[in-house]
Protein backbone atom coordinates (compact mmCIF):
# COMPACT_ATOMS: atom_id res chain seq x y z
CA UNK A 1 0.00 0.00 0.00
CA UNK A 2 1.46 3.34 -1.09
CA UNK A 3 -0.18 6.18 0.77
CA UNK A 4 0.95 9.42 2.33
CA UNK A 5 -0.37 8.75 5.82
CA UNK A 6 0.98 8.04 9.29
CA UNK A 7 -1.08 5.09 10.43
CA UNK A 8 -4.42 3.73 9.26
CA UNK A 9 -5.97 4.26 12.70
CA UNK A 10 -5.25 7.97 12.64
CA UNK A 11 -6.19 8.79 9.08
CA UNK A 12 -9.69 10.04 9.87
CA UNK A 13 -8.63 12.20 12.80
CA UNK A 14 -5.65 13.71 11.01
CA UNK A 15 -7.59 14.29 7.81
CA UNK A 16 -10.29 16.16 9.71
CA UNK A 17 -7.73 18.30 11.52
CA UNK A 18 -5.94 19.05 8.25
CA UNK A 19 -9.23 19.91 6.58
CA UNK A 20 -10.38 22.17 9.40
CA UNK A 21 -6.98 23.88 9.50
CA UNK A 22 -6.89 24.55 5.78
CA UNK A 23 -10.45 25.80 5.65
CA UNK A 24 -10.74 27.59 8.96
CA UNK A 25 -12.19 30.64 7.23
CA UNK A 26 -15.33 28.62 6.39
CA UNK A 27 -15.62 25.64 8.69
CA UNK A 28 -14.69 24.18 12.05
CA UNK A 29 -14.32 20.69 13.39
CA UNK A 30 -16.71 20.24 16.31
CA UNK A 31 -14.35 19.46 19.19
CA UNK A 32 -14.08 15.81 20.07
CA UNK A 33 -16.23 14.69 17.13
CA UNK A 34 -15.83 13.81 13.49
CA UNK A 35 -18.20 16.59 12.47
CA UNK A 36 -17.23 19.43 10.14
CA UNK A 37 -19.65 22.33 10.55
CA UNK A 38 -19.90 25.63 8.75
CA UNK A 39 -19.28 28.87 10.60
CA UNK A 40 -22.00 30.62 8.66
CA UNK A 41 -25.52 30.54 10.14
CA UNK A 42 -28.79 31.35 8.46
CA UNK A 43 -31.00 31.71 11.51
CA UNK A 44 -34.37 30.05 11.42
CA UNK A 45 -33.70 28.22 8.17
CA UNK A 46 -33.44 24.50 7.58
CA UNK A 47 -29.93 23.07 7.92
CA UNK A 48 -28.73 20.19 5.73
CA UNK A 49 -26.60 17.43 7.23
CA UNK A 50 -24.95 14.70 5.23
CA UNK A 51 -22.04 12.34 5.69
CA UNK A 52 -21.24 8.69 5.76
CA UNK A 53 -18.03 6.73 5.64
CA UNK A 54 -14.92 8.72 4.73
CA UNK A 55 -12.86 8.11 1.61
CA UNK A 56 -15.20 9.99 -0.73
CA UNK A 57 -13.53 13.39 -0.38
CA UNK A 58 -14.38 16.14 -1.17
CA UNK A 59 -17.71 14.56 -0.20
CA UNK A 60 -19.08 15.55 2.14
CA UNK A 61 -17.03 18.03 4.16
CA UNK A 62 -15.93 19.92 1.04
CA UNK A 63 -19.55 20.91 0.47
CA UNK A 64 -20.10 22.37 3.92
CA UNK A 65 -20.71 26.09 3.75
CA UNK A 66 -23.20 28.75 2.80
CA UNK A 67 -25.62 27.46 0.18
CA UNK A 68 -24.91 23.76 0.65
CA UNK A 69 -24.46 21.63 3.79
CA UNK A 70 -24.53 22.97 7.34
CA UNK A 71 -22.47 20.03 8.57
CA UNK A 72 -20.91 16.78 7.44
CA UNK A 73 -20.47 13.74 9.66
CA UNK A 74 -17.38 11.78 8.70
CA UNK A 75 -17.23 8.09 9.58
CA UNK A 76 -14.18 5.88 9.48
CA UNK A 77 -13.05 5.01 5.95
CA UNK A 78 -15.97 3.39 4.08
CA UNK A 79 -17.80 2.92 7.39
CA UNK A 80 -20.96 4.73 8.40
CA UNK A 81 -20.51 7.15 11.30
CA UNK A 82 -22.14 6.19 14.59
CA UNK A 83 -25.43 7.66 15.84
CA UNK A 84 -23.76 9.82 18.49
CA UNK A 85 -21.57 11.45 15.83
CA UNK A 86 -24.51 12.07 13.53
CA UNK A 87 -26.37 13.49 16.52
CA UNK A 88 -23.47 15.90 17.11
CA UNK A 89 -23.64 16.83 13.44
CA UNK A 90 -27.34 17.58 13.74
CA UNK A 91 -26.82 19.75 16.82
CA UNK A 92 -23.98 21.67 15.21
CA UNK A 93 -26.04 22.26 12.09
CA UNK A 94 -29.35 23.26 13.64
CA UNK A 95 -30.25 26.92 13.11
CA UNK A 96 -33.71 26.62 14.55
CA UNK A 97 -35.44 25.72 11.32
CA UNK A 98 -35.15 21.95 11.51
CA UNK A 99 -32.59 19.63 10.03
CA UNK A 100 -32.74 17.57 6.86
CA UNK A 101 -30.47 14.51 6.72
CA UNK A 102 -29.23 13.46 3.29
CA UNK A 103 -28.33 9.78 3.61
CA UNK A 104 -26.77 7.55 0.99
CA UNK A 105 -28.64 4.27 0.79
CA UNK A 106 -26.45 1.79 2.64
CA UNK A 107 -27.83 -0.39 5.42
CA UNK A 108 -25.32 0.99 7.91
CA UNK A 109 -25.81 4.64 7.00
CA UNK A 110 -29.57 4.42 7.10
CA UNK A 111 -29.58 2.68 10.51
CA UNK A 112 -27.03 5.00 12.12
CA UNK A 113 -28.60 8.19 10.78
CA UNK A 114 -32.08 7.07 11.79
CA UNK A 115 -30.91 6.30 15.33
CA UNK A 116 -29.37 9.77 15.46
CA UNK A 117 -32.59 11.34 14.22
CA UNK A 118 -34.43 9.65 17.09
CA UNK A 119 -31.93 11.10 19.58
CA UNK A 120 -32.25 14.59 18.09
CA UNK A 121 -36.03 14.48 18.01
CA UNK A 122 -36.04 13.52 21.67
CA UNK A 123 -34.09 16.77 22.09
CA UNK A 124 -36.80 18.76 20.36
CA UNK A 125 -35.01 19.25 17.03
CA UNK A 126 -37.21 18.79 13.98
CA UNK A 127 -35.49 16.19 11.82
CA UNK A 128 -36.48 14.80 8.43
CA UNK A 129 -34.43 12.64 6.12
CA UNK A 130 -33.96 11.63 2.52
CA UNK A 131 -32.29 8.47 1.33
CA UNK A 132 -30.39 8.86 -1.94
CA UNK A 133 -30.29 5.74 -4.12
CA UNK A 134 -29.15 6.87 -7.55
CA UNK A 135 -26.88 3.97 -8.56
CA UNK A 136 -28.71 1.98 -11.22
CA UNK A 137 -25.97 -0.66 -11.35
CA UNK A 138 -27.95 -2.58 -8.74
CA UNK A 139 -31.50 -3.59 -9.21
CA UNK A 140 -33.95 -2.08 -6.79
CA UNK A 141 -35.94 -5.13 -5.75
CA UNK A 142 -36.99 -7.04 -2.70
CA UNK A 143 -33.81 -9.09 -3.24
CA UNK A 144 -31.38 -6.24 -2.57
CA UNK A 145 -30.82 -3.59 0.06
CA UNK A 146 -32.00 -1.26 -2.70
CA UNK A 147 -29.99 0.91 -5.04
CA UNK A 148 -26.86 2.51 -3.59
CA UNK A 149 -26.29 6.21 -3.12
CA UNK A 150 -23.40 7.57 -5.19
CA UNK A 151 -22.40 10.77 -7.03
CA UNK A 152 -25.97 11.99 -7.45
CA UNK A 153 -25.83 12.82 -3.74
CA UNK A 154 -23.71 15.86 -4.57
CA UNK A 155 -26.45 17.18 -6.82
CA UNK A 156 -28.85 16.79 -3.90
CA UNK A 157 -26.49 18.85 -1.75
CA UNK A 158 -26.32 21.61 -4.32
CA UNK A 159 -29.99 21.93 -5.20
CA UNK A 160 -31.41 21.33 -1.72
CA UNK A 161 -28.69 23.53 -0.24
CA UNK A 162 -29.74 26.42 -2.43
CA UNK A 163 -33.40 25.80 -1.66
CA UNK A 164 -32.71 25.73 2.09
CA UNK A 165 -30.60 28.86 1.83
CA UNK A 166 -33.50 30.52 0.03
CA UNK A 167 -35.79 29.78 2.95
CA UNK A 168 -37.67 26.62 1.98
CA UNK A 169 -39.23 24.82 4.96
CA UNK A 170 -38.40 21.34 6.19
CA UNK A 171 -41.37 19.45 4.80
CA UNK A 172 -41.20 21.21 1.47
CA UNK A 173 -37.49 20.43 1.28
CA UNK A 174 -38.11 16.79 2.03
CA UNK A 175 -40.72 16.65 -0.72
CA UNK A 176 -38.35 18.40 -3.16
CA UNK A 177 -35.63 15.96 -2.09
CA UNK A 178 -37.82 12.98 -2.81
CA UNK A 179 -38.74 14.30 -6.23
CA UNK A 180 -35.06 14.94 -6.90
CA UNK A 181 -33.96 11.47 -5.82
CA UNK A 182 -36.46 9.96 -8.19
CA UNK A 183 -35.03 12.14 -10.98
CA UNK A 184 -31.35 11.30 -10.48
CA UNK A 185 -29.63 8.18 -11.78
CA UNK A 186 -25.96 7.27 -11.87
CA UNK A 187 -23.74 4.50 -13.14
CA UNK A 188 -20.00 4.02 -12.98
CA UNK A 189 -17.03 2.11 -14.24
CA UNK A 190 -13.84 1.23 -12.41
CA UNK A 191 -10.46 0.57 -14.01
CA UNK A 192 -8.37 0.35 -10.81
CA UNK A 193 -9.56 -0.67 -7.32
CA UNK A 194 -9.28 1.36 -4.12
CA UNK A 195 -7.20 0.40 -1.11
CA UNK A 196 -8.68 1.05 2.33
CA UNK A 197 -5.78 2.13 4.62
CA UNK A 198 -6.76 -0.26 7.43
CA UNK A 199 -7.01 -3.16 4.97
CA UNK A 200 -3.76 -2.42 3.18
CA UNK A 201 -4.62 -4.16 -0.06
CA UNK A 202 -7.02 -3.41 -2.93
CA UNK A 203 -10.69 -4.24 -2.28
CA UNK A 204 -10.87 -6.27 -5.47
CA UNK A 205 -8.61 -7.28 -8.29
CA UNK A 206 -8.68 -6.27 -11.92
CA UNK A 207 -6.30 -7.58 -14.53
CA UNK A 208 -4.02 -5.07 -16.27
CA UNK A 209 -6.38 -4.88 -19.23
CA UNK A 210 -9.67 -5.20 -17.37
CA UNK A 211 -12.36 -2.84 -16.21
CA UNK A 212 -15.66 -3.40 -14.44
CA UNK A 213 -19.01 -1.71 -15.03
CA UNK A 214 -21.23 -0.83 -12.09
CA UNK A 215 -18.68 -0.97 -9.28
CA UNK A 216 -19.89 0.85 -6.15
CA UNK A 217 -18.02 3.65 -4.42
CA UNK A 218 -16.83 1.23 -1.74
CA UNK A 219 -15.66 -1.26 -4.32
CA UNK A 220 -18.92 -3.21 -4.29
CA UNK A 221 -18.80 -5.52 -7.31
CA UNK A 222 -20.43 -4.31 -10.49
CA UNK A 223 -22.41 -6.05 -13.19
CA UNK A 224 -19.86 -6.90 -15.87
CA UNK A 225 -16.14 -7.21 -16.44
CA UNK A 226 -14.60 -6.55 -19.82
CA UNK A 227 -11.28 -5.80 -21.41
CA UNK A 228 -10.54 -2.07 -21.09
CA UNK A 229 -12.66 -0.14 -23.57
CA UNK A 230 -12.24 3.28 -25.14
CA UNK A 231 -13.83 6.33 -23.58
CA UNK A 232 -16.37 6.37 -26.39
CA UNK A 233 -17.38 2.76 -25.82
CA UNK A 234 -17.64 3.27 -22.07
CA UNK A 235 -19.78 6.35 -22.64
CA UNK A 236 -22.05 4.30 -24.92
CA UNK A 237 -22.51 1.60 -22.29
CA UNK A 238 -23.28 4.05 -19.51
CA UNK A 239 -25.53 6.31 -21.56
CA UNK A 240 -27.50 3.32 -22.83
CA UNK A 241 -27.98 2.02 -19.26
CA UNK A 242 -29.26 5.43 -18.25
CA UNK A 243 -31.49 5.60 -21.29
CA UNK A 244 -33.09 2.29 -20.31
CA UNK A 245 -33.57 3.51 -16.77
CA UNK A 246 -35.00 6.92 -17.66
CA UNK A 247 -36.80 5.93 -20.84
CA UNK A 248 -36.30 9.45 -22.14
CA UNK A 249 -37.84 11.26 -25.12
CA UNK A 250 -36.17 13.58 -27.57
CA UNK A 251 -36.20 17.11 -26.20
CA UNK A 252 -36.27 16.05 -22.55
CA UNK A 253 -34.28 18.28 -20.29
CA UNK A 254 -31.39 16.92 -18.21
CA UNK A 255 -28.42 17.94 -16.11
CA UNK A 256 -25.22 15.90 -16.37
CA UNK A 257 -22.40 15.16 -13.96
CA UNK A 258 -19.21 13.33 -14.91
CA UNK A 259 -17.54 12.30 -11.67
CA UNK A 260 -13.97 11.08 -11.23
CA UNK A 261 -13.58 8.23 -8.77
CA UNK A 262 -10.38 9.47 -7.15
CA UNK A 263 -7.25 8.59 -9.08
CA UNK A 264 -8.58 9.44 -12.52
CA UNK A 265 -7.09 12.70 -13.84
CA UNK A 266 -9.38 15.49 -15.00
CA UNK A 267 -7.93 14.99 -18.48
CA UNK A 268 -9.68 11.63 -18.76
CA UNK A 269 -12.85 12.99 -17.20
CA UNK A 270 -13.05 15.69 -19.87
CA UNK A 271 -12.37 13.20 -22.68
CA UNK A 272 -15.20 11.10 -21.26
CA UNK A 273 -17.42 14.19 -20.95
CA UNK A 274 -16.80 14.89 -24.62
CA UNK A 275 -17.88 11.41 -25.69
CA UNK A 276 -20.90 11.54 -23.41
CA UNK A 277 -21.91 14.97 -24.73
CA UNK A 278 -21.98 13.65 -28.29
CA UNK A 279 -24.23 10.76 -27.31
CA UNK A 280 -26.61 12.93 -25.32
CA UNK A 281 -26.79 15.22 -28.31
CA UNK A 282 -27.55 12.30 -30.63
CA UNK A 283 -30.34 11.33 -28.27
CA UNK A 284 -31.74 14.82 -28.75
CA UNK A 285 -31.66 15.68 -25.06
CA UNK A 286 -31.61 19.27 -23.91
CA UNK A 287 -28.71 19.52 -21.46
CA UNK A 288 -29.42 22.35 -19.06
CA UNK A 289 -26.38 22.06 -16.79
CA UNK A 290 -23.10 20.17 -16.71
CA UNK A 291 -20.37 19.48 -14.22
CA UNK A 292 -17.11 17.54 -14.34
CA UNK A 293 -14.83 16.71 -11.42
CA UNK A 294 -13.82 14.30 -8.69
CA UNK A 295 -16.66 15.05 -6.32
CA UNK A 296 -17.73 11.66 -4.96
CA UNK A 297 -14.57 9.62 -4.93
CA UNK A 298 -13.58 6.21 -3.72
CA UNK A 299 -10.08 6.77 -2.29
CA UNK A 300 -7.58 5.89 -5.01
CA UNK A 301 -10.00 4.07 -7.27
CA UNK A 302 -9.62 4.96 -10.95
CA UNK A 303 -12.72 5.28 -13.06
CA UNK A 304 -15.64 7.58 -13.69
CA UNK A 305 -19.34 7.69 -13.03
CA UNK A 306 -22.04 9.35 -15.05
CA UNK A 307 -25.05 10.97 -13.40
CA UNK A 308 -28.08 12.40 -15.13
CA UNK A 309 -30.85 14.46 -13.55
CA UNK A 310 -34.14 14.82 -15.32
CA UNK A 311 -34.99 18.46 -14.76
CA UNK A 312 -38.64 18.58 -13.72
CA UNK A 313 -38.73 22.20 -12.68
CA UNK A 314 -37.10 25.36 -14.01
CA UNK A 315 -36.46 26.39 -10.42
CA UNK A 316 -33.89 23.60 -10.06
CA UNK A 317 -31.66 25.42 -12.52
CA UNK A 318 -31.71 28.55 -10.37
CA UNK A 319 -30.79 26.45 -7.36
CA UNK A 320 -28.03 24.78 -9.35
CA UNK A 321 -26.50 28.10 -10.36
CA UNK A 322 -26.86 29.88 -7.01
CA UNK A 323 -23.38 30.83 -5.69
CA UNK A 324 -22.05 28.99 -2.65
CA UNK A 325 -19.22 29.43 -0.19
CA UNK A 326 -17.68 26.02 0.34
CA UNK A 327 -14.18 24.67 -0.01
CA UNK A 328 -14.79 22.38 -2.96
CA UNK A 329 -17.71 23.53 -5.05
CA UNK A 330 -16.39 25.91 -7.73
Amino acid sequence: MKKIINSPEHVLDEMLDGFAYANAHLVKRVTGTSVIARKYKNDGQVALVSGGGSGHEPSHAGFVGKGMLASAVCGEVFTSPTPDQVYEGIKAADQGGGVLLIIKNYTGDVMNFEMAAELAEADGIDVAHIVVDDDIAVEDSSFTAGKRGVAGTVIMHKILGAAAESGMGLQELKTLGETLVASIKSIGVSILPATVPAVGKPGFELADDEMEYGVGIHGEPGYRREPLKSSKEIAEELVMKLKDAFDWQEGDRYGVLVNGLGATPLMEQFVFMNDTAKLLDQEGLDIAFKKVGSLMTSLDMAGVSLTLVKVADEKWLDYWHMPVETTDWA
Binding site: G53, S80, T82, T107, G108, M111, A145, V196, V199, E220
Partner: protein, 195 residues
Protein backbone atom coordinates in the same frame (compact mmCIF):
# COMPACT_ATOMS: atom_id res chain seq x y z
CA UNK B 1 -28.21 -17.45 34.31
CA UNK B 2 -26.42 -14.19 33.56
CA UNK B 3 -24.28 -12.81 36.38
CA UNK B 4 -22.18 -9.65 36.38
CA UNK B 5 -19.06 -11.83 36.27
CA UNK B 6 -20.03 -14.17 33.46
CA UNK B 7 -21.45 -11.32 31.40
CA UNK B 8 -18.23 -9.33 31.73
CA UNK B 9 -16.36 -12.52 30.89
CA UNK B 10 -18.63 -13.08 27.89
CA UNK B 11 -17.76 -9.68 26.43
CA UNK B 12 -14.06 -9.89 27.23
CA UNK B 13 -13.91 -13.27 25.57
CA UNK B 14 -15.91 -12.00 22.57
CA UNK B 15 -13.49 -9.08 22.30
CA UNK B 16 -10.47 -11.39 22.36
CA UNK B 17 -11.94 -13.64 19.71
CA UNK B 18 -12.76 -10.71 17.45
CA UNK B 19 -9.28 -9.28 17.93
CA UNK B 20 -7.75 -12.64 17.02
CA UNK B 21 -9.99 -13.11 14.00
CA UNK B 22 -10.13 -9.47 12.91
CA UNK B 23 -8.32 -10.08 9.61
CA UNK B 24 -10.47 -13.14 8.90
CA UNK B 25 -13.68 -11.14 9.44
CA UNK B 26 -12.48 -8.38 7.12
CA UNK B 27 -11.38 -10.93 4.57
CA UNK B 28 -14.84 -12.50 4.63
CA UNK B 29 -16.26 -8.99 4.07
CA UNK B 30 -14.03 -8.38 1.04
CA UNK B 31 -15.57 -10.54 -1.70
CA UNK B 32 -19.18 -9.79 -0.70
CA UNK B 33 -18.91 -6.52 1.21
CA UNK B 34 -16.48 -3.68 1.75
CA UNK B 35 -13.78 -5.39 3.76
CA UNK B 36 -14.27 -3.59 7.04
CA UNK B 37 -16.23 -5.97 9.24
CA UNK B 38 -13.20 -7.06 11.28
CA UNK B 39 -12.02 -3.48 11.75
CA UNK B 40 -15.50 -2.33 12.71
CA UNK B 41 -16.08 -5.09 15.25
CA UNK B 42 -12.61 -4.72 16.72
CA UNK B 43 -13.12 -0.97 17.14
CA UNK B 44 -16.46 -1.54 18.84
CA UNK B 45 -15.20 -4.27 21.15
CA UNK B 46 -12.06 -2.34 22.12
CA UNK B 47 -14.45 0.30 23.40
CA UNK B 48 -16.55 -2.35 25.17
CA UNK B 49 -13.43 -3.62 26.95
CA UNK B 50 -12.42 -0.07 27.87
CA UNK B 51 -15.88 0.56 29.32
CA UNK B 52 -15.72 -2.69 31.30
CA UNK B 53 -12.27 -1.79 32.60
CA UNK B 54 -13.43 1.63 33.70
CA UNK B 55 -16.80 0.88 35.25
CA UNK B 56 -18.20 -1.21 38.08
CA UNK B 57 -21.42 -3.05 37.45
CA UNK B 58 -24.03 -4.18 39.90
CA UNK B 59 -26.20 -6.26 37.60
CA UNK B 60 -25.67 -8.09 34.29
CA UNK B 61 -28.20 -5.90 32.52
CA UNK B 62 -25.90 -2.92 33.10
CA UNK B 63 -23.04 -4.82 31.50
CA UNK B 64 -25.18 -5.47 28.41
CA UNK B 65 -26.19 -1.82 28.34
CA UNK B 66 -22.59 -0.63 28.54
CA UNK B 67 -21.68 -3.03 25.75
CA UNK B 68 -24.61 -1.80 23.70
CA UNK B 69 -23.63 1.85 24.06
CA UNK B 70 -20.01 1.07 23.23
CA UNK B 71 -20.98 -0.91 20.13
CA UNK B 72 -23.39 1.79 18.94
CA UNK B 73 -20.87 4.52 19.65
CA UNK B 74 -17.76 3.06 18.09
CA UNK B 75 -18.49 0.30 15.58
CA UNK B 76 -20.14 2.20 12.76
CA UNK B 77 -21.29 0.45 9.60
CA UNK B 78 -24.27 -1.89 9.63
CA UNK B 79 -22.96 -4.10 12.39
CA UNK B 80 -22.75 -1.30 14.99
CA UNK B 81 -26.46 -0.50 15.18
CA UNK B 82 -27.35 -4.19 14.84
CA UNK B 83 -25.17 -5.50 17.69
CA UNK B 84 -25.87 -2.35 19.66
CA UNK B 85 -29.61 -2.80 19.40
CA UNK B 86 -29.31 -6.51 20.14
CA UNK B 87 -27.35 -5.88 23.34
CA UNK B 88 -29.65 -3.04 24.35
CA UNK B 89 -32.70 -5.27 24.05
CA UNK B 90 -30.85 -8.05 25.87
CA UNK B 91 -30.00 -5.58 28.63
CA UNK B 92 -33.68 -4.89 29.18
CA UNK B 93 -34.57 -8.58 29.15
CA UNK B 94 -31.74 -9.51 31.52
CA UNK B 95 -32.65 -6.68 33.85
CA UNK B 96 -36.15 -8.12 34.00
CA UNK B 97 -35.03 -11.71 34.40
CA UNK B 98 -31.33 -12.70 34.51
CA UNK B 99 -32.24 -16.40 34.55
CA UNK B 100 -33.99 -16.45 31.22
CA UNK B 101 -31.15 -16.83 28.74
CA UNK B 102 -33.47 -17.86 25.93
CA UNK B 103 -35.68 -14.87 26.53
CA UNK B 104 -32.66 -12.56 26.47
CA UNK B 105 -31.40 -14.03 23.22
CA UNK B 106 -34.85 -13.76 21.69
CA UNK B 107 -34.98 -10.11 22.72
CA UNK B 108 -31.58 -9.58 21.09
CA UNK B 109 -32.74 -11.19 17.87
CA UNK B 110 -35.89 -9.09 17.90
CA UNK B 111 -33.71 -6.01 18.21
CA UNK B 112 -31.63 -7.06 15.21
CA UNK B 113 -34.74 -7.69 13.19
CA UNK B 114 -36.41 -4.44 14.26
CA UNK B 115 -33.32 -2.52 13.15
CA UNK B 116 -32.38 -4.49 10.04
CA UNK B 117 -35.69 -5.95 8.89
CA UNK B 118 -34.05 -9.19 7.81
CA UNK B 119 -35.67 -12.60 8.21
CA UNK B 120 -33.98 -15.98 8.24
CA UNK B 121 -32.48 -17.03 4.92
CA UNK B 122 -31.31 -13.58 3.81
CA UNK B 123 -27.65 -14.34 4.57
CA UNK B 124 -27.22 -12.10 7.59
CA UNK B 125 -26.35 -12.61 11.24
CA UNK B 126 -30.03 -13.45 11.73
CA UNK B 127 -29.18 -16.82 10.18
CA UNK B 128 -26.96 -17.62 13.15
CA UNK B 129 -29.11 -16.10 15.88
CA UNK B 130 -32.25 -18.01 14.84
CA UNK B 131 -30.82 -21.59 14.94
CA UNK B 132 -28.64 -20.81 17.98
CA UNK B 133 -31.77 -19.83 19.92
CA UNK B 134 -33.48 -23.02 18.77
CA UNK B 135 -30.56 -25.12 20.00
CA UNK B 136 -30.47 -23.29 23.33
CA UNK B 137 -34.18 -23.91 23.69
CA UNK B 138 -33.61 -27.58 22.91
CA UNK B 139 -31.03 -27.47 25.69
CA UNK B 140 -28.01 -28.48 23.66
CA UNK B 141 -26.00 -25.66 22.01
CA UNK B 142 -22.37 -26.55 21.39
CA UNK B 143 -19.47 -25.13 19.41
CA UNK B 144 -20.01 -27.52 16.50
CA UNK B 145 -23.55 -26.27 16.14
CA UNK B 146 -22.34 -22.68 16.03
CA UNK B 147 -19.79 -23.51 13.35
CA UNK B 148 -22.41 -25.36 11.38
CA UNK B 149 -24.85 -22.44 11.50
CA UNK B 150 -22.17 -20.02 10.34
CA UNK B 151 -21.23 -22.46 7.59
CA UNK B 152 -24.85 -22.68 6.46
CA UNK B 153 -24.75 -19.05 5.33
CA UNK B 154 -22.27 -20.02 2.64
CA UNK B 155 -24.72 -21.39 0.04
CA UNK B 156 -27.26 -18.66 0.78
CA UNK B 157 -27.97 -15.81 -1.59
CA UNK B 158 -27.88 -12.46 0.19
CA UNK B 159 -30.97 -10.30 -0.06
CA UNK B 160 -30.12 -7.83 2.72
CA UNK B 161 -27.02 -5.73 3.47
CA UNK B 162 -24.15 -4.91 1.20
CA UNK B 163 -23.78 -8.51 -0.02
CA UNK B 164 -27.22 -8.34 -1.64
CA UNK B 165 -25.70 -6.15 -4.40
CA UNK B 166 -23.96 -9.27 -5.67
CA UNK B 167 -27.11 -11.31 -6.14
CA UNK B 168 -26.15 -14.83 -7.25
CA UNK B 169 -22.47 -14.01 -6.79
CA UNK B 170 -22.95 -13.78 -3.02
CA UNK B 171 -23.44 -17.55 -3.02
CA UNK B 172 -20.42 -19.55 -1.87
CA UNK B 173 -19.12 -17.05 0.70
CA UNK B 174 -19.59 -17.06 4.47
CA UNK B 175 -21.50 -14.03 5.76
CA UNK B 176 -19.08 -11.94 7.86
CA UNK B 177 -21.73 -10.79 10.37
CA UNK B 178 -22.73 -14.40 10.88
CA UNK B 179 -19.11 -15.26 11.51
CA UNK B 180 -18.77 -12.58 14.18
CA UNK B 181 -22.07 -13.69 15.73
CA UNK B 182 -20.59 -17.19 15.79
CA UNK B 183 -17.70 -15.80 17.86
CA UNK B 184 -20.20 -14.21 20.22
CA UNK B 185 -22.02 -17.46 20.78
CA UNK B 186 -18.79 -19.37 21.31
CA UNK B 187 -17.83 -16.82 23.93
CA UNK B 188 -21.26 -17.36 25.48
CA UNK B 189 -20.69 -21.14 25.48
CA UNK B 190 -17.25 -20.83 27.05
CA UNK B 191 -18.64 -18.62 29.85
CA UNK B 192 -20.85 -20.02 32.52
CA UNK B 193 -24.16 -18.45 31.64
CA UNK B 194 -25.58 -21.36 29.69
CA UNK B 195 -24.72 -24.04 32.22
Amino acid sequence: MFTVENTIELFRNFATKVQTDKAWLSDLDTPIGDGDHGTNMARGLTEVTAKLDAGTYKDPGDVFKAAAMAMIGKTGGASGPLYGTAFMEMSKAVQANPDDITGALEAGLAGIQKRGKATAGEKTMVDVWVPVIESVKAGGLNAEHVDAYVEKTKPMKATKGRASYLGERSIGHLDPGSASSGLFFKALLEGGALS
